[in-house]
Symmetry: none
Subunit: 432 residues, 2 copies
């Protein structure tokens, strides 16, 4: 009985006056076993809050027909928008569409365009399509089918009475473009407000220092709102403005952004989807400069980050992962004496690596990194986390600095690569 | 009505025969805004599965008294063990204990040891304790209080009729030691079973094909259970066995694992935490062989993956990211003619890159990759996604293959790096 009363209360609560209230239902036993984190829920939560949709619940349920239908029964009583993630694959475990169809009393019917896309996908891969794959081309009758630009499982939107079901695949790289390209436009069309966010990307300053610098601005926010978020080694500030459809939220964002930029200055390296590597690549491209990289402890991570950017090839000439002393000598001309006298992890070696990569490649700009990523290799005077980062250009400008980085191996490598990229950004902008 | 029937069904389902079924309720609006991921749920999910407790649901609800009580009302109808995370702080938003007390009709009473600990905590930091801090020392009557070794908010266990409520703080660094030191011993004392999982890591076969090869095994699973999971380009099979305390679950897992290995063979590259790169590094280390890598379109990703493994330095000699033709010529001795006649992305160039990297470095094993990662650079006869992967050793063994990889740039790079690593694994194991 308690549950029934419960439902009535919730219904009043969530439906009273509010435009659209949402619940995310993650379907997958792997989530309940902790094999993966529910990053889909976090991604969708951020997007829904940007869209001004009230998200009231996350639910996760296993690959179990009865329990999925139970979760749907609970959700439909307390929200208007139900977003499911996962359970769209070809295996017997994948039953989200089946559960929604059964729950709503709808048939699953074949969607020819999806069948064609599915077969094309396998042909292109030279793989034979197996019978159970066709499962992915069946949808509850009346579905708006959402094409999957990355994988084989399309999503769907089902409107049923006054409720909306958005059915999305589990893998983030499939879910995210599908949400961006198909679900956001669908939801925006239903809304009478426009909400726009602009994210400021920040590197090289601590969270508390940043918040002190803009304390008063944070304290007095209303519309636009400001959401600080601390990432692994970066910070972001999300400015979100809400206006009626016929106004431009950006007009509200701009003056606030200007005030924040006055306070924080050049630690703001970009906006929205900018990354340190994308900013470096575009700075290089715009000034038609080339870059070459000599890496030891970062093991190719810096080259990898730069070459992950489309069009990097116009700026990126060459990278050398000179892990062994031998390769430092042969490829970069680091002298045996230097290695013997100061060691591979030293100011002197970093300097010679930088000179070597610039000389060997003729690139305009160079990076050289040598350090101890750990867990092994540390000594009392050269502990794990000690990293030398050298940046410079072919005109002889050079800056070599040492850092003591915390965390385990991959964290040290990640931080070192970010510092190197940010240092090059500052050099290209002639900042300090 | 549907909901009520629903509940009865669930109750039968989850309580029928099973010892203890659990739900995690995360309390915190920051989770619903996507400001943080629900890592507590993943951590607790892993621990509960290791404890042999069936976790059936994750729920997340905001800092709202009525909705928290609603979530409790739903949970108590469908599970026996309810674990809440978050909402134990001093602010007015923190209301988890208050909601549980109201829901169960219990008073909140002061816990003197917690008051003392709280005051000591503030004295130690020379901070004055504010009145609302004492909120953290009040618990539902009859609680087993769980001391917080890191922060100011203790947790609690409340036994109510045949249900157990475990109340934990939100910050992972407070929640995890509390769970390890106080909750696990409590739960183990209640349990009469042992559960163990073993994960098989699989590469080079599609999810549906794998599914078909072991369809009968999957169809007839009970104990051990088998959970297939499709990652970005890999597959995993988690085998989980449950036995009475005095038996060994591994004895149930082994024969099933053997049957699966008979069906899938050498696409199973490792178990549990193994990765393609960790397996390659350990194969190289065990045979005291060295490796060198020449990368074009993967831009250092293969080197980066190998060097992310602790101890890689004993096997990894050097990587070259020869992005420009110039660097392919100067560093690897690829001939101008070959580049002009066949192009940088060709069987011939991949072959010369491999010979070049082996010659230049003297490594035992080599990898060379050249391709078009996109989005630009594709042509009708050489489309985006065309990648040549060459592997070989210093004794002249060589294998060069072309692939048409799908997806955007970083996906093509990721897949190419995985194929290269798996090819080396197969070479080192003399598989086909």
């Amino acid at each position: 009985m308690i549950t029934n009363t419960g439902y009535e209360t919730v219904s009043q609560l969530t439906l009273g006056g509010l435009r659209m209230n949402a619940e995310i239902i993650g379907v997958g036993t792997e989530l309940l076993l902790g094999q993966i984190a529910n990053t889909d829920a976090q991604y969708l939560s951020q997007k829904l809050s940007q869209l001004g949709i009230n998200l009231f619940y996350h639910t996760v349920v296993g690959d179990n027909m009865i329990r999925v239908k139970q979760a749907l029964a609970i959700a439909i009583e307390r929200v208007d928008l139900i977003i499911t993630t996962g359970g769209l694959g070809p295996t017997m475990d994948d039953l989200t569409k089946e559960a929604i169809a059964e729950f709503l009393g709808l048939r699953l019917i074949a969607h020819q365009p999806s069948i064609d896309a599915l077969e094309a996908f396998f042909v292109k891969r030279g793989r034979t399509i197996s019978k159970n794959n066709y499962k992915q081309a069946y949808f509850p009758e009346g579905s708006i089918v959402l094409p999957n630009s990355v994988g084989t499982a399309p999503g769907a939107i089902v409107e049923h009475n006054d409720k909306v079901f958005v059915i999305l695949p589990g893998p983030p790289r499939e879910l995210q473009p599908m949400f961006e390209n198909h679900v956001i436009p669908y939801l925006e069309a239903k809304s009478d407000e426009k909400i726009v966010s602009k994210v400021l990307k920040i590197y090289g300053i601590g969270e508390s220092v940043m918040e002190e610098k803009i304390q008063d601005i944070l304290a007095n926010q209303s519309n636009p709102t400001i959401a600080p978020l601390a990432g692994d080694s970066e910070l972001t500030l999300r400015i979100t403005a809400k206006t009626p459809r016929n106004h431009d939220p950006l007009a509200l964002i701009q003056p606030l952004e200007n005030r924040i930029r006055e306070r924080l200055g050049d630690v703001i390296y970009g906006v929205n989807d900018d990354t340190l590597e994308s900013v470096v690549v575009s700075l290089l491209t715009r000034s038609s400069k080339t870059i070459a990289i000599a890496e030891s402890c970062t093991g190719g991570l810096i080259a990898r980050r730069i070459t992950s950017i489309p069009g990097a090839s116009t700026a990126f000439v060459e990278g050398m992962v000179t892990y062994s002393n031998q390769s430092k000598i042969e490829r970069l001309g680091v002298s045996k004496d230097t290695l013997n006298k100061y060691g591979a992890v030293s100011y002197e070696t970093a300097t010679e690596m930088l000179k070597g990569i610039l000389k060997a490649t003729g690139a305009d700009v160079g990076i050289a990194v040598t350090g101890i990523a750990g867990p092994g290799g540390g000594t009392p005077d050269k502990p794990v986390g000690l990293v030398y980062i050298a940046i410079g250009d072919k005109n002889g400008y050079m800056k070599v600095q040492d850092y003591n980085l915390l965390g385990e191996r991959t964290r040290v490598q990640q931080t070192a690569s970010s510092i190197a990229l940010d240092s090059v950004r500052r050099m290209l902008l002639n900042i300090d």
